[in-house]
């Protein structure tokens, strides 16, 4: 069982490993969480990236990382991780490199890649027991192409391809459970707005071997339609309303790391974002609001606390 040293804000590292000046939008929740994750992972990492917003972190000749980076394609970042991990293991076994040259292999993709095009490669990497950490920043849509709905878009959200009066008709795919069903080493949900919880999860994941995933909900000002300065508050509301449960799958069990109590009504979260405007204007869509609240309630009712 992994031991975590971080207990409160004071314990968080503040080395600012991650460079500034990236072209991510102001208030980008994905970047916020990556910052924090990188502080703990450290520079002995190679990020294997799939097509998405974060692809633009490394633009020739700049990179915000102290460590390494490989961009692959939208569907196959986990396979890239496989190739690097295997090659490093081969080099270690042949003593062509020492253990001091080894790297943590970290996949970095958005929700679109993680839930859709890349899911086959991800599932296969888990089935092979690949030793890697997968970071999925979940902005709940194909952000880089202008926020069309993805398999991670929540019910009712307006996106560039769900512009009707009821928003997105589908439901957010449960990537956490899909991963957990593979019985990997570790799965967690987190969010940049809860830094201690996030840091503890990264610390835990870092100490484990095998397939590991951390999904961070990534409030996205242009995609979700809110003012960048509200990003952290919206993130906190996602947790407090219970729409984004913070949890871990470890040692075969699911544990909630933060149980919102009392749980705020979900509309407190929804009304902060233009993508849910149609639920409130021109008049309240009581049926859809109730439906969304109900699905949150049912989730928490199903949790043995």
């Amino acid at each position: 069982m992994a031991k975590t040293l971080i207990r409160r804000m004071k314990d968080l590292p503040s080395t600012h490993l991650f460079g500034s000046g990236t072209p991510m939008c102001a208030g980008c929740g994905g970047l916020e969480s990556l910052h924090q994750i990188y502080e703990i992972l450290g520079p002995r990492t190679v990020f294997v990236n799939a097509a998405g917003c974060m692809t633009l972190l490394a633009i020739y000749p700049f990179t915000p990382f102290r460590g390494s980076w490989l961009y692959t394609a939208m569907a196959s970042a986990p396979a890239g991780a496989q190739g690097i991990r295997d090659a490093l293991d081969i080099l270690l076994a042949q003593q062509r490199i020492g253990a001091d040259e080894d790297l943590n292999v970290v996949v970095l993709t958005g929700d679109g890649s993680a839930n859709g095009m890349g899911l086959s490669a991800t599932s296969a990497a888990m089935e092979r027991g690949l030793d890697f950490l997968y970071i999925c920043y979940d902005n709940e849509g194909y952000g880089n192409t202008g926020q069309q709905f993805s398999a991670a878009t929540p019910h009712g959200a307006r996106t560039a391809t769900s512009t009707g009066p009821h928003g997105f008709g589908g439901n957010k795919k449960d990537l956490f459970s899909i991963w957990a069903a593979h019985k990997p080493a570790y799965v967690a949900t987190a969010i940049g707005a809860e830094p201690v919880d996030l840091a503890r999860k990264v610390e835990t994941a870092k100490q484990l071997k095998g397939p590991r995933l951390i999904i961070t909900l990534a409030p996205c000002p242009p995609g979700w339609d809110f003012d960048p300065r509200d990003a952290a508050d919206i993130g906190k509301l996602a947790v407090k309303t219970g729409i984004w449960p913070l949890k871990e799958y470890i040692d075969g069990k699911v544990v909630h790391s933060k149980i919102p109590h009392p749980r705020l009504p979900v509309e407190e979260y929804l009304k902060t974002q233009g993508r849910f405007n149609h639920l409130f204007q021109p008049q309240r869509d009581e049926a859809l609001l109730a439906e969304i609240q109900d699905s949150v309630d049912r989730y928490w009712d199903g949790i043995a606390v």
Partner: protein, 414 residues
């Protein structure tokens, strides 16, 4: 040394074994599968070191191959047909990583209709990707080409991945006598891979395959790959020379068979060139001055050699085992562009499409091609491109159609 009877697939596997590959990402597909089965057996049986990993798709397989090569190990992989196309996004992508490795393609026609039998549309779909391409005509050439391919691809002047192609069935499953070189002499010829700065290490952070903004850096890196590919022309010549010294077998970028005094020349790639050679011999027996040109290296295209060899010929008959739908034979177009405006270029190029989906090309058809091409040379009139197809085959297909109609009728359909 006593030659052994080996299939083309076994020869490819021997090439990988002798090249001391570290890593084999794999995925099964007919007619390639025997290669990875053979390597898997050797690795599991301890006859060869190395690690084989079966990915869940060729898209992932090629990603893993490129990523491992970019980490600095020697990588071998193999596919065919639908597999190559499934991975095509990554074929282009990893070529740009400039991390060398060898990919065997065992040629097989593409869907639709789906078939297992060979033609060259699969490998030619990768023509513009940045991968180098060597096309083999014999099982011996397959083994030798894999070994040569590593030296060419890993050369610091090149640093591009390379496809070694062999035809499904006609080579993949055909046993031919093959000399298996001594591991010691292969090691002398092919030293361990030095990835230089193309690698991932904790002490030397590296960003590979990063995005660019704008056309200036994009054009720069794309064209750099093109220039590196062109460097492979000289590198191939050097490597072929060194190979001949070490093993006594010489491979030119373009094989010219009985061409010196030829007036009419066949041009084709792959194992069917062996059939063309036999036809050349028969035609020569009959007093016809005919030759054969077989580009072995297709990327980079040895345009200068082709122009030199073909200078002064009356006509070239290009036999394409592929079809660019809406245009015709791809080699025909490639050759036309290589020859256009060159001094003494043959004035007549005829175009024949044959051998699609495993269809054989008979000796009589080669004679007929020669006759049509000679006539074109005499009259100066180039005939339209032709599909090699017999009345008999046409009747066979009509029979199948008749059965299909009857079955449909039987089922109660209109």
């Amino acid at each position: 040394m006593q030659p052994k009877l080996l299939t083309g697939n076994a020869a490819a596997a021997w090439g990988a074994r002798l090249a001391r590959v570290d890593y084999v990402p794999a995925f099964p597909i007919t007619p390639q599968t025997e290669i990875i089965e053979t390597l898997g057996r050797w690795i599991e049986g301890g006859q060869m070191p190395g690690r084989m990993v079966t990915l869940e798709s060729e898209h992932s397989m090629i990603t893993a191959a490129g990523a491992a090569a970019a980490t600095g190990v020697r990588v071998f992989t193999a596919t065919s047909s639908q597999g190559l196309l499934y991975g095509m996004e990554m074929i282009y992508t990893v070529a740009g990583w400039r991390a060398p490795f060898v990919l065997i393609n065992v040629s097989r026609g593409l869907a639709s209709p789906i078939t297992l039998e060979p033609d060259h549309n699969d490998v030619l779909a990768a023509r513009d990707s940045g991968f180098l391409q060597i096309h083999c005509a014999t099982c011996q050439e397959v083994l030798d080409s894999v070994i040569m391919a590593y030296r060419i691809a890993e050369d610091p002047r090149v640093r591009l991945p390379i496809i070694v192609n062999l035809d499904g069935f006609y080579l993949s499953f055909t046993r031919e006598p093959v000399e298996i070189p001594e591991p010691k002499s292969v090691a002398d010829f092919l030293p361990a891979y030095d990835p230089e700065s193309t690698r991932f290490r904790a002490s030397s952070p590296n960003s590979q395959a990063v995005a660019v903004l704008g056309g200036a850096p994009y054009s720069y890196f794309r064209y750099e790959s093109h220039l590196a590919s062109l460097n492979a022309l000289d590198v191939h010549a050097e490597v072929a020379g060194a190979f001949a010294q070490q093993f006594g077998r010489h491979y030119e970028a373009v094989e010219a068979y009985r061409c010196e005094d030829a007036e009419i020349v066949f041009l084709m790639i792959g194992s069917f060139a062996t059939k063309a050679k036999a036809a050349v011999d028969r035609l020569r027996d009959a007093g016809e001055p005919v030759g054969l040109v077989r580009p072995r290296l297709l990327r980079p295209l040895p345009a200068k050699e082709l122009a030199q060899i073909l200078a002064g010929k009356q006509a070239v008959a290009v036999i394409d085992q592929n079809i660019s739908v809406g245009m015709g034979g791809m080699l025909h177009a490639e050759l036309a562009s290589a020859l256009y405006g060159k001094a003494n270029a043959p004035p007549i190029l005829t175009s024949f499409i044959g051998g699609l989906g495993g269809r054989d090309i008979s000796p009589e058809e080669f004679y007929e091609i020669a006759a049509i091409t000679r006539k074109a040379a005499q009259s100066g009139v180039i005939p339209p491109a032709r599909l090699l197809y017999t009345q008999e085959e046409y009747r066979e297909v009509q029979k199948l159609q008749a059965i299909a109609h009857a079955e449909r009728h039987e089922m109660g359909a209109e």
